[in-house]
């Protein structure tokens, strides 16, 4: 008997393809998990895209199907906009994982801190970065360029 908890635990091991330090659970992508009572009933996973045009959706879907496959049931993954994904959905451990990867957690422009030295003497070089969800910053104290998660 596969439980919802077991599915969530497995999903917590699925890394985001663009920021591998953070899992899709800590990123707040998991909207709903449904496990049926009937034998061999599929596990339904509903996920929230961070961005509508996120190019990583297929990769995320494949990772989820691969990881849950070991539970021995069919897996159905659906992306939904039932609620909009926002940066408020990041978990506390997700925020720590971002910092450890050199990415400032989402915050208002005035509150962005350097993820390396915590300085607030930072400047935004570009609102747009290597992926849709990140901006480019520079720390004037430790002289380190870094990325910040865009609040959305």
């Amino acid at each position: 008997m596969v439980t919802t908890g077991a599915v969530l635990a497995a999903l917590a091991e699925v890394a985001d393809p663009e920021i591998p330090a953070i899992s899709i659970v800590d990123l707040g992508l998991v909207h709903r998990v449904e496990v049926g009572d009937a034998p061999n009933e599929a596990i339904h996973v509903r996920l929230l895209p961070t961005y509508v045009g996120c190019p990583a959706l297929d990769a995320i879907r494949n990772s989820v199907v691969d990881r849950l496959g070991v539970l021995g049931l069919p897996v159905e993954v659906e992306f939904t906009y039932a609620v909009p994904w926002t940066t408020d959905r990041l978990t506390p451990s997700g925020l720590s994982a971002l910092r450890r990867s050199g990415i400032a957690p989402p915050s208002s422009l005035a509150d962005v801190r350097c993820p390396y030295c915590s300085s607030t003497r930072v400047t935004m070089d570009s609102a747009f970065g290597p992926t849709q969800c990140r901006s480019l910053f520079y720390c004037r104290d430790c002289r380190q360029p870094f990325e910040a998660f865009k609040p959305i």
């Binding site: 895209p49 509508v52 909009p84 480019l136």
Partner: protein, 265 residues
């Protein structure tokens, strides 16, 4: 992307379906053509940061187009998927507005077009947010969060060019004269629009959204000494005529599909 299911069609009568078809196609084609035009800057934008930014904006628009085409494919439920709708049409069958039809142009064209389109699109999205058809209302709520960044970015660029030196301002004025007369084509009346308003899917007619758009942009344009976009000369055919520039672009974005319709990425 969403699971195709009959449930999203429950409660939609034929008139509403026809209105949704026209609405989704027009919005998706707008985003697709604009996104594809802007993606041409990848690698050749004026600044490295801008290369990244414009690529990101273009990716957002193509993503919005994909989601809208998928919704349209679910609505039609005729076995043709989003790619088939996006790529398997002749140029004359596209329904994007004239504002985004004329090709990329120079950087000033790109900024003027984006400013006019993004502000107009914001007014259109506002009229759809909270609407009675959940699949579209939910998507629109998500898209609006992303568009905030587009508006901030293109607004800053419009200020920079408008307040820049002679060449920057001169090019912007020239671009504005080319593009502003077509800006209101975003609000070209759609067949079936009245049914969407009656069903509560569209809060106000597009003509009213246009009025709201004009009030929203008037203060910024006055400050930057840019003229207000004129009322469209031929309001009904704003989505029908296709330029040579678009035919060229169509040749580009359908090239792989026409070479091998079964190719996968």
């Amino acid at each position: 992307m969403t699971t195709t299911s009959a449930s999203i069609l429950v409660g939609l009568d034929a008139a509403v379906r026809a209105g949704l078809d026209a609405l989704l196609l027009s919005m998706a084609d707008d985003e697709f053509v604009l996104g594809f035009s802007d993606s041409e800057w990848t690698g050749i934008a004026p600044l490295l940061e801008e290369d990244v930014a414009m690529t990101s904006l273009a990716l957002d628009e193509l993503g919005h187009a994909r989601a809208l085409y998928e919704l349209l494919a679910d609505l039609r439920a005729d076995g043709r998927d989003a790619d088939a709708i996006a790529y398997d049409r002749e140029p004359a069958e596209y329904r994007h507005c004239r504002l985004v039809d004329g090709g990329r142009g120079d950087w000033a064209d790109t900024i003027a077009r984006r400013y006019l389109y993004d502000t107009a699109d914001a007014a259109r999205l506002a009229a759809l947010d909270g609407g009675a058809w959940a699949p579209l209302a939910q998507l629109v709520a998500k898209i609006r969060r992303e568009e905030r960044y587009h508006l901030m970015h293109v607004g800053a660029w419009l200020e920079r060019l408008a307040g820049g030196g002679d060449e920057a301002r001169g090019r912007l004025i020239a671009a504005w004269e080319r593009l502003a007369p077509n800006a209101a084509t975003v609000f070209t009346p759609l067949p079936g629009e009245a049914a969407l308003v009656a069903a509560g899917i569209l809060a106000v007619p597009l003509a009213e959204a246009e009025v709201r758009w004009r009030s929203a942009i008037a203060p910024a344009l006055a400050r930057l000494e840019l003229p207000m976009p004129p009322v469209t000369a031929s309001p009904d055919c704003g989505r029908l005529e296709r330029s040579d520039a678009f035919r060229w672009l169509w040749g580009e974005f359908t090239a792989v599909r026409r070479l091998d319709p079964t190719a996968t990425w």
